[in-house]
Assembly symmetry: C2
Amino acid sequence: MIDKLISKIKKTQAPIVVGLDPMLKFIPEQIQKKAFAEYGETLQGAGEAIWQYNKEIVDAIYDIVPAVKPQIAMYEQFGLEGVKAFLRTVEYCKSKDLVVIGDIKRGDIGSTSEAYAVGHLGKVQVGGQKFYGFDEDFATINPYMGTDAVAPFVKVCKEEKKGLFILTKTSNPSSGEFQDRLIEGRPLYEWVGEKVAQWGSDFVGESGYSYVGAVVGATYPEQGKILREIMPKSYILVPGYGAQGAKGTDLVHFFNEDGLGAVVNSSRGIIAAWQQEKYKAFGPERFAEASRQAALDMQADIAQALESR
Amino acid sequence: MIDKLISKIKKTQAPIVVGLDPMLKFIPEQIQKKAFAEYGETLQGAGEAIWQYNKEIVDAIYDIVPAVKPQIAMYEQFGLEGVKAFLRTVEYCKSKDLVVIGDIKRGDIGSTSEAYAVGHLGKVQVGGQKFYGFDEDFATINPYMGTDAVAPFVKVCKEEKKGLFILTKTSNPSSGEFQDRLIEGRPLYEWVGEKVAQWGSDFVGESGYSYVGAVVGATYPEQGKILREIMPKSYILVPGYGAQGAKGTDLVHFFNEDGLGAVVNSSRGIIAAWQQEKYKAFGPERFAEASRQAALDMQADIAQALESR
């Protein structure tokens, strides 16, 4: 799956992930009205609204970006109906040949971690049959519990040729509280980065990159530079561009010399572009076109930053 | 909710949580056969089987234990149908007045963390209405991302009078990989423990205990002793009893002098008791009675250990 991601990045010339993190306040009135007219102001109505919203955005961007990253929290907030919308979104994105990164940040141990891995990336056994649960292509994982939390995911990924991104240095302001603390003179995130490299060392695609990648926030470019060196074969999923403040020039150190090695996420910067001053002219009816334009602008911003490094 | 948990612990004299972590291999044949006859060997059939299995166990134990802890991974592995069984289980346990600890180990940042908090513990706004998503009473949280990951949960808990258990020192063999690393001479889990105490310091129930507790594995009794002192007002959720190897005597340091301060989880040791040599006489038909007996035996084991300390 890492090879498919890289091949699609090369084809689209866009190392970009669109974060499908729908909040009702991002969704234009016409979609909300229609969904609520059909299902009422209910969880079902909300699930329908976020699904229709996602669908229009996916239709507008699937040919210019390689991947999407639905953040499952934004679906779980609507309970079972939200989870249903998550599943529909994953299925639809895959039907459009997009690589789907499930931003689930799961992490548990032993048989529990295996259950998450099976449910999100693999197949579960029911009697004599096997079924996919959510069937994302990649999943994000929390490393706090150590190898026990990661190994069952790696096992399932090997069977299914799927991949992982392990939280290493996250983009948020308080990420330093624990991640920056010094252990034998080096911050915790570097030790995690070393483990990421190790966990993925014997699971490398034809591209030369490992199926086990890392999450490193665009808001910490200096740390990104160091982690890039510690994990040369790990793809880095980079959140924090746009809404969280990072710019194209902050991203250059996350990429290797070959122009590969990183894929940058933008969520509200793309999916809620129609609400920004810059894309206001599109109006709420043409919100998906605004998203397409924002994705093209992001691509140009990153390309320019990489060219002038 | 911490006060309700403590009041129920006092009433049942059982500082016990039953982990509702259903795996198909734990479920007696008669339940599986019936579910598959009705829905086929499908995800729906699996969801029905785990729900019926849970229901019988809950009916057998709800009057002798204060709380249950469904592990959502075991439901997510069956996709949407599994999540439906999780929701039914939570609803049913609450109807039996059990305190429900959602073992979800979520952790994300800002609006994403808030979405998890809203979905699992609070109410989500849809138009002019508000709805509960999953409506557990407590949730487990991963602290790797720092205060940004925890604060939105604390906010929702304050509104809803619900509670949290933050992963501090987990029960698994590799938990030391990061959690035991020394920072200024003290292991990471102690720094996390200090934060747990701080996060919960202004959110204390009438019992004197905070709504913000910690997860500390029974497999690490010495660390439990230290963390008990670092977080005197935090309830400790203690996994690792039974199947993971810890005994009643390992648990004493997790409790305060008042006999409170800790609640011990057992999952397969109770729900799959019928498969153990010790409870074999119950047979598969009376599996729920075996679970009840295992809960009573666990209660006696802990009581004896606390008495003789």
